[in-house]
Amino acid sequence: MARARISPGAAVVAIGALLAIASWPLDAYWTGLLTQAVIFGGAAVGLDILVGFAGMASLGHGAFFGLAGYGLALGTLRWGVNPWLAAGIGIVGSTLVALAFAPLAVRVRGLAFLTVMLAFGQVVWGLATRGGSATGGENGLPGVPRPSLGPWDLSGAEAFYLFTLLMAVAAIYAVVRFAGSAVGQSLIGVRDNETRMAALGYDVRRLRIIAFVVAATVGAVFGALSAAFNGFVGPGSLDWRLSAQLLLSVVVGGAGSLWGPFVAGAGLHMLETYFAGTTQRWPLVLGLLYIVTVVLLPGGIASLPRLWRQRRRSARPAATPRSRSASES
């Protein structure tokens, strides 16, 4: 396979530009839907660092997404802080929580990690639910304001969509660069063979922590965006269902491919919104969709181009690239 001469940066910017242009003639509803889709897609890309690269499947990632949202909401609504500063507090706060918990969480692997993260997510969810008037309890915190960027007022649907795109482009660009960097390669090493990495002198624990925190920070960025977009955070912004949705997006997209989880994260959200407005059977439809995906496309959406290429040159015998199934057990 010849290597394309396109830098990741250019590609991500180009995608952003395409999405911006494509949305030009859309009405407020579609820009709104795309905004939320890009937010979930971006969060899934971040989680892919942890799941696809470091091989650590988490059922508690929603916690970092939601914590940043709560930070933004508490900052603006309770402490009267400027929205930008509040978003910063949320993102930094969420990252710090990740940094504090990471050394503990990375001690365990596989299902135990999944369960520890599930428990962690439940504890955070409990804090949000039990926070009384501080967190609004079950009802959450409505009325989170959208900021303006200098003269650029972000309260309109289109303006906020473009802003979200801008942020997504920046965040995903950073993730793509990170994934392709020496550290990203090291994470693949940890996923494939932890013992070997240690024998090569790599500090495996540190690498796991890095993956954990990077994924959390990216999640936090999109969590803050989500809170600003919806004008609302609640326990549903960080519960295990959200965590499951993000994890499923990574798997449906194809763990370790980055673009697959983005498409799946965004696409699944749009599909869910569409089906939920159309039929009461939408959980059934989504469930069947997952089942069909896993049976027909076990490598996820990311394996589509490869299958397509294989089909095209099926006449010629060619070495099959090994699938990057990030299995861990």
């Binding site: 290597r3 394309a4 001469r5 396109i6 830098s7 990741p8 590609a11 991500v12 180009a14 995608i15 395409l18 999405l19 242009i21 494509a22 949305s23 003639p25 859309l26 009405d27 407020a28 509803y29 579609w30 709104g32 839907l33 795309l34 939320q36 889709a37 639910t129 039990r130 609004g136 309890g137 079950e138 009802n139 959450g140 409505p142 009325g143 793509v176 392709g180 919806n230 004008g231 609302f232 609640g234 549903g236 912004s237 491919s257 980055l258 673009w259 697959g260 983005f262 498409v263 965004a266 696409g267 749009m270 919104t273 939920a276 407005g277 009461q280 939408w282 959980p283 990311a302 181009p305």
Partner: protein, 397 residues
């Protein structure tokens, strides 16, 4: 680098899909005078609130069927969406209803947690919102949003009547409260406690199981039955169902009096069966109401469904009636005239007279009922009727 290319391809597909759907969006007509009035109905039809959301939808459908889907000379179109009881999904579907379906107003929703963000959204979009069941107090509180009206009762509204009734009329003055540990539970217990203590009652114990708990063993054991003479409970659906049964198993019922807001037995009274007998409840509707309006409602319901309508169906029906009445009087589905008409509402529903206070909260009759055994099961009978109950009702007022 290959990854990057595929990334671009994926994004293009996504954008392409969006553009493709454009046409669908563009074809949707926007509401104008003479055109159909479009009403977006947001109730949970999946998840744990599904059964209640369905009933509210039934009530709304029933009313508009009854008027031939017509208000004045304008046809009515109902567009239903699933809120799933989840704020995030509610907002998404609300955006879809407003942005893509171009509805003139929103109504519905069951659980309180979705009401505040939905109210916020309605304010931003400047679209009228009529809440049917969700009782979150904030929505009709001090910082009330002028686009929001609630035809159902606010959390605690009926509990205030219940607190007074329990102490003053039943003569039970030592209570233990059991309510799920969430805002709705707090608001209800607070309403009950205020009028109950004002009438000489005392709260002996407060138990707060986590939201959704169905095994009350750990909580029932905390209360000494000899120290109380009445139990106030607020749970809903499966929680309420399990609670009455376990209170019997642990021997607290039927020896103690059980009082609760109407949503306690709503939808599960038949399942509770004999366990529910004796339960005293306060609420905005009961099938036992004896009025021509309720008779008409029950008759309409019986034509399409089995059995008697419950409070969720009734609240859907009443909400639809209030909306239709306001649109008819406003002669328009434009936001401002509609809001003005809603504020001036004064009509008689299946549950009695209904007006709004200056915060958009319905002022209605509250009925105190007792569950009694009948030949073919159990039914509520009215033991007290309290007219013009507002959200801050006290016996003196």
């Amino acid at each position: 680098m290959r990854r990057v290319l595929t990334f671009a391809l994926a994004a293009l597909l996504l954008a392409g899909g969006a553009v493709g759907s454009l046409q669908a969006a563009a074809q949707t007509p926007s509401a104008a005078s003479g055109e159909p009035i479009r009403i977006g109905v947001l109730d949970p039809t999946t998840g744990s609130f599904a059964v209640f959301g369905e009933q509210v939808n039934d009530g709304i459908r029933l009313y508009f069927d009854g008027v031939g889907d017509q208000i004045g000379d304008r046809p009515v179109e109902l567009i239903f969406a699933d809120s799933a009881g989840d704020p995030q999904q509610t907002l998404e579907q609300a955006r879809r209803l407003v942005g893509q379906e171009h509805v003139d107003l929103l109504m519905g929703t069951v659980n309180s947690a979705v009401a505040p963000p939905l109210a916020e959204f309605a304010g931003q979009q400047q679209i009228p919102l009529v809440l049917t069941v969700a009782g979150a107090r904030d929505v009709t509180g001090e910082n009330r949003n002028p686009y929001v009206f609630r035809t159902g009762l606010a959390n605690g509204q009926q509990d205030r009547v219940l607190g007074w009734y329990t102490a003053a009329k039943l003569g039970k003055t030592r209570a233990a409260t059991f309510a799920w540990d969430f805002l709705v539970g707090e608001e209800r217990v607070a309403g009950f406690t205020e009028t109950f203590t004002a009438a000489g009652g005392e709260i002996v114990a407060q138990q707060k199981p986590p939201l959704g708990t169905t095994d009350y063993g750990p909580f029932i054991g905390q209360v000494d039955p000899s120290s109380i003479d009445v139990v106030y409970a607020f749970f809903a659906g499966p929680g309420a169902l399990a609670f009455v049964q376990q209170m019997h198993q642990f021997g607290l019922l039927p020896n103690l009096e059980l009082v609760a807001p109407d949503y306690f037995t709503a939808g599960v009274l038949d399942q509770m069966g004999s366990d529910a007998v004796g339960t005293v409840q306060a609420g905005g509707y009961t099938a036992a109401i004896d009025s021509p309006e309720n008779a008409a409602f029950k008759e309409a319901y019986a034509a399409a469904h089995e059995g008697a309508p419950g409070v969720y169906v009734a609240e859907g029906y009443i909400g639809a009636q209030v909306v239709a009445d306001a649109i008819a009087r406003a002669g328009s589905a434009e936001a401002q005239p509609l809001l003005d008409a809603l504020a001036a509402a004064d009509l008689t529903t299946a549950a009695g007279p209904l007006t709004f206070d200056d915060r958009g909260q319905a002022v209605r009759t509250v009925y105190v009922t007792r569950v009694e055994a009948t030949a073919d099961g159990v039914a509520q009978t009215i033991v007290e009727t309290v007219p013009e109950v507002g959200q801050s009702w006290t016996p003196a007022s």
